[in-house]
Each structure stands twice: as C-alpha cells, then as structure tokens.
C-alpha cells in the first residue's frame, strides 16, 4: 500500500494548508484583540500580555459605548430585512417553482441582475431621497436598500429548495381533499421550512456584512451598524490608535458567524450552491 500512504500524506498536507490559510487571519485578529494596548506596537503574532481591556472599553458607558448601539442596530436591522425578504421571496419563489405563468424568466433574470447591481450605483440617489424623506440615518433607511440584495438572494435560494419538493405531494393533498391553501400550509410549508431557514441564514449574513450603504446612509450611532462603526472608531485619546478596540469588536462580530457556520455548514453550502450549479 505504498501508493495509499503517499496519497494519504498528500491530502493531509493539502487539508492542513487549507485549514491554516482559512483560520490564521481569524486567529490573528482574536489574538490582537487580547493584547494589552501598550504592547500592540510590539508586533508578534501572540500577545505577550493577555487582557480583556479592549473588550471592556467597547462597552464602557452603556448605550453611549462605542459598540453596544451599533451591535443592537446591526442585529435589529439585519433581522427585520431578513424577515421581510424571506416572507416576500417565499411567495414569489413558490409561484416560480410551482405555477406556470408568463414573465417567470423575466422575474428570475431581473432578480439576478438586481443582485449584481453595484450598491454604489444606487447610494447617491438614496442619499438625496432619504434626506428629503427623513429616512437618512434611520433603521428604515438601511432596511429598504438591503432588500436590493436580500430579495434576489432569497428568491434564488428558495426557488431551488421549493423545486426539490415533489410536485406529486401537493396533488396528492388536493385529491385527499385539501384546498390549495391547506395543501400549501400542511404539506409545502413543513417541507420547505429547512430551506427557508437556510435562506434566512444566508440573507442575514449578507445584511450583516453590508458596508457601502451603512457608511453612506447613516451619520450617527442612531442607526450605524457594526461594520460602519468599526471604520469610524477613534482611540481613547487622539494619540492612541484604536487598533485593540477594532480587533476586539471585529472578533465579537465574527463569533456569531463562526457559530452559524459550525452548526449549519451543510445547509449553508447547500443554500450557496443551490440553483447556481445544476446542469
């Protein structure tokens, strides 16, 4: 089994390299966040002096603290945008996956085109409109533009999941005496729930990640999300760089992502590749 062992070693090395490459930057930012502010300038990968000072100062001052408000903003905005997108998209996706009607391809193609829009193309007009409508620097002012990418993403993922539910089941339910609505509620929804949940995770991650809208359409902690807040962090005094704080905040917002990924990795992969690769 000489060949077998050689192959084994080769793949082991490959796996190790991939693991290291994916994780080192994450470990680095976490390690940086644990360095005492005074030792940050020393360089080096691991802290010489471990401390949670950077985290503490992030939350000092309650709602006026550098991170708490943005964190709440991020969570609330992403959750609302995700909910709206999933609800609206599941109607559309159901129609596209199940019903015959003219305009189906147009909707799919249009959704794809919209998903590809550079946010910078709409941010200028939105900036102007939001200032006139009083939506500038509000939750709604971010939730609405988030729908531009959230809706197409949700539609695509959900269409792929809905198509996997056998058509027969709905017909069987109808012959068994169900109205179309009952067939949808009692057969389709329970079967589609995992897919809808997966779509929700993906949409949430995308909303959580947005930066262009967040820095362009907000001006204060009233609605600034974490990525935008990170970019505007200032040091304790004008002579200290906010490196440690940024690293700590960065680590904090990465933890939920890592937990999501750990629990739902199979689903996330299915959702990401659903619809994109087939035939």
């Amino acid at each position: 089994m000489k060949r077998g062992t050689r192959e084994y070693t080769l793949w082991s090395i490959g796996l190790f390299v991939i693991l290291a490459a994916s994780l080192i930057p994450v470990i680095w930012i976490a390690s940086l966040s644990l360095k005492a502010p005074a030792t940050i300038g020393e360089g080096g990968f691991f802290p010489t002096e471990w401390t949670f000072d950077n985290y503490e100062s992030l939350f000092k001052g309650g709602l006026d603290s550098p991170l708490l408000r943005p964190l709440i903003n991020s969570i609330v905005i992403a959750l609302i945008a995700t909910t709206i997108a999933i609800v609206l998209a599941s109607f559309t996706a159901y129609a596209i996956a199940r019903l015959e009607f003219p305009g189906k391809l147009l909707i799919l193609g249009g959704a794809l085109a919209i998903a590809m829009f550079p946010p910078i193309s709409t941010v200028g007009p939105l900036f102007d409109m939001w200032r006139n409508l009083g939506l500038y620097d509000t939750y709604a002012g971010l939730i609405i533009p988030y729908l531009t990418f959230a809706l197409p993403l949700a539609i695509y993922t959900l269409v792929a999941f809905f198509r996997e539910i056998p058509f027969d089941l709905e017909e069987a339910a109808q012959v068994d005496g169900a109205t179309p609505l009952q067939a949808f509620r009692k057969v389709i929804v329970p079967l589609a729930a995992p897919g809808m949940f997966t779509a929700a995770i993906l949409v949430f991650i995308f909303c959580w990640n947005d930066f262009v809208f967040a820095i362009s359409l907000t001006s204060s902690d009233a609605s600034r999300t974490v990525p935008a807040a990170l970019a505007f962090f200032t040091g304790e005094s004008q002579f200290t760089a906010p490196t440690g704080n940024i690293a700590a905040a960065a680590t904090l917002v990465t933890i939920p992502i890592i937990i999501f990924v750990l629990i739902f990795q199979r689903r996330i992969v299915a959702g990401l590749t659903a619809g994109a690769v087939k035939g």
């Binding site: 056998p166 089941l169 017909e171 069987a172 109808q174 012959v175 068994d176 005496g177 109205t179």
Partner: protein
C-alpha cells in the same frame, strides 16, 4: 361508490398538443377498468382529468351522475395512488393515512378506528408510527393504498402504482390489489403501460394510443378479437407475429405456403381479396412431431431455427420467414415502443413460436413446425383494422 362516464372528453395543452382525443368511456359502479398503452398515449392525462388535476378542454366528465368538469379535486371524492406514492415525508404512516379524513372533517374519534382497520387490511399495523423514509418500497406502496381506501371514496384512481416495485413484489402486489378491489368493490381506474398487469387485473381493459381509445373489452376478448393491428400487437407477450399474406378466394397465401380458410374465416372476411397482413400468436405454433389430433386444422412447414430459449415450462423458438418487410405505421410504433426498433437486425422478419418443452428442436437445425391456421387473424394493411372485426 359511483360510475364514471367520459363523454367526448378531450385534452389540449397550451402548446396545442392534444393528449386525449374525444374519449368515450363508461365505467360501471364497482368495475375495475385498466387504461393501458405505450408511454405518451394519454392514459395518465385521462386519469388526471378524472382526478381533477388536469383541466378538461372539451367534453363532459360525470362521476355518479354529476357533471364534475369544474369541480376541484377535493370536491370529487376520489382517491388517487401515485406512481411514486407521494407520501408526505413529514408525517408518520398513521398521519399520512389520517390526513384525508382530517381534511374531510371526520370526527376525531372515528379517524383512529378507520386508520387501524385499513392498516390491518394492508398488514401495516406495526409500522403505523414510522415515517415513510424508514419503510421499504413495498410498505410505502401499501401506505399509499391505505391512504386511498381509508376514506371509502367514490372511486380509486391508480397511476402505475406498482411500477416502482421489483418484479417479484410487483406480482405479489398485483394479486393484493385485485383482491382488495374485489373486497371493497369500489370503482377503480388503473393506469399501466404493462400489458400483463392490464390483462391480469381488470374487469375490462381500455387500450389507448396517441390519445385515441382503441378498444375497450374484457382481457379475453382483447386477446382473441383485437380490433386492429395495434391492439393485436400490444396485447400478448411475446407479441403476435405479423406477416404478409394474400387472400385468393377460399385460400390464403402465407409465407409458409397456401392455406385453406375455414368457412367461418371466409365468412368473416366478406368478399375481401388481395394483400392483407396475417397475425399469428406464438402459441398457434407447435412442433409438428408433437401434434396429435387436430393436425388437419393447420399447416406444417420447415424452418431453420435461429434461436431456442427455454423457459422450463415452454420453449420460445425463433425462425426467419421469407418475405419482404411489412410496411405499417402501427407496427413501426409498436416496435419503437418495445425498443425492438433499436435492436440491430430488426428489419428481418422473424417469427417467435411457443412450443411444448418436450420438443427436440435445436438451434441451427431445420425443424418441422405446425401452425394452427384457424386462429390466424387478418388485418387491412392500410387502416390496420382487423378484417371482420366490425361484424361482432
């Protein structure tokens, strides 16, 4: 329970394709009718129209006397068994079977006894609390049947319900379905492409082809008196042998020689003369050496045997016949459906004969074969109609 009447029913799809053309079919209360035909013949579409899953373009459909064209499936009170069973994967066997009852607002205390009864009939009692994913193919099939019988509907509609089972189980379930239908005597429409299933199961069999109903009859009638070439070739396995023939007064010229027609045969043919297509079932042949009495009813000839297949209880013997190839749309379609058209050498006229296993016929040798010519049927080469069929 109720009768089902299709009165001039047609189905045209949006793209103009006509799947079912002007279909007339009366299914009596309690009758077991099989819709059979090659794939794409419209049999499933016809069934789905009865279920209400497909709109009826033209004509009238009556169930128990009511015109139901515009009824939604749920208002027709029919039960359907799907080809892939369509069991709800998120429900247990019990919930699957109770689902139609719950939707029908059957009182809670009546649901459980009904489900248990059905489970007992189908031998599913110990599986009631399992999910479909944990059942074998045969068990799933029985759950699908259970979901249908539990409501005591006006009719059962079955769309190739056994085609996903392996061969042995299929035969077993076939008898099971027949027994169940007899016990419940519920009107049943059963779709299949398997002519053996059709012949063994139905009170009557309806043969369809390209959306047109060809013949509706009892299995025996279909077998002995097919209305046309298509039905003759589709029903029976191995299929009927077709060969060119020429009628000249009281004799017919077959590739094996001239044969005298019986008075009855001649009478049925009317005053028809000239080129026709003759059809002979494989069992009409026998090893000449084994034919005792009745030998005078037939014709003996010599043939060089290409192949001998022994089935144990019978022998299938293949030999070529000297004749030009038959040109017929019906035969081409049958060949395409059975896949024979794709086999190299299919353009050679070959005859298959079913002989007694005692026969000593050997491959590659010349054999003496006898044909019972009284059972030979004759068809019009143009229209494909069986000559004399209309006089029945």
């Amino acid at each position: 329970m109720a009768d089902i009447v299709l009165d001039g029913v047609s189905k045209r799809f949006d793209d103009g394709y006509e799947a079912v053309k002007d279909m007339d079919l009366e299914i009596k209360d309690g009758e077991f009718v099989i819709l059979v035909g090659p794939s794409g013949c419209g049999k499933s579409t016809a069934l789905r129209m009865i279920a209400g899953l497909e709109d009826i373009t033209e004509g009238e459909l009556r169930i128990g006397g009511d015109v139901v064209n515009q009824y939604a499936p749920k208002d027709r009170d029919v039960a359907m068994v799907f080809q892939n069973y369509a069991l709800y994967p998120h429900m247990t066997v019990r919930e699957n079977m109770a689902f139609p009852l719950k939707l029908g607002e059957v009182p809670k205390e009546e649901i459980n006894p009904k489900v248990e009864d059905a489970a007992k009939i189908l031998d599913l009692e110990q599986h009631l609390d399992r999910k479909p994913a944990n059942l074998s193919g045969g068990q799933r099939q029985r759950v699908a049947m259970g979901r249908a019988i539990v409501r005591d509907p006006k009719a059962f509609l079955m769309d190739e319900p056994l085609s996903n089972l392996d061969a042995k189980l299929r035969v077993q379930m076939r008898t099971e379905v027949a027994r169940l239908q007899k016990d419940l005597s519920t009107t049943t429409v059963y779709v299949t492409h398997d002519q053996t299933e059709a012949m063994t199961l139905g009170d009557r069999v309806a043969v369809m082809r390209s959306g047109v109903l060809q013949q509706v009859d009892t299995p025996a009638e279909l077998y002995q008196r097919p209305r046309n070439l298509f039905v003759a070739g589709f029903i029976g396995s191995p299929a009927m042998n077709f060969m060119p023939a020429k009628l000249e007064g009281a004799t017919v010229k077959l590739p094996f020689g001239d044969v005298r027609l019986t008075d009855e045969q001649r009478r049925a043919l009317g005053d028809r003369d000239g080129d026709v297509i003759a059809g002979a079932r494989p069992e009409a042949f026998e090893d000449a050496a084994l034919v005792g009495e009745g030998r005078e009813r037939g014709q003996t000839f010599k043939a060089k045997v290409d192949l001998v297949e022994s089935m144990g209880s019978e022998l299938y013997v293949y030999f070529p016949i000297e004749s030009e190839r038959l040109e017929s749309k019906d035969l081409d379609e049958l060949a395409a459906d059975s896949g024979a058209a794709d086999v190299p050498g299919s353009d050679v006229n070959q005859v298959v004969a079913r002989l007694d296993p005692a026969s000593k016929v050997q491959r590659g040798e010349e054999a003496e074969i006898w044909l019972d010519t009284t059972t030979v049927l004759f068809f019009d080469p143009q229209s494909g109609e069986r000559l004399g069929a209309e006089q029945r």
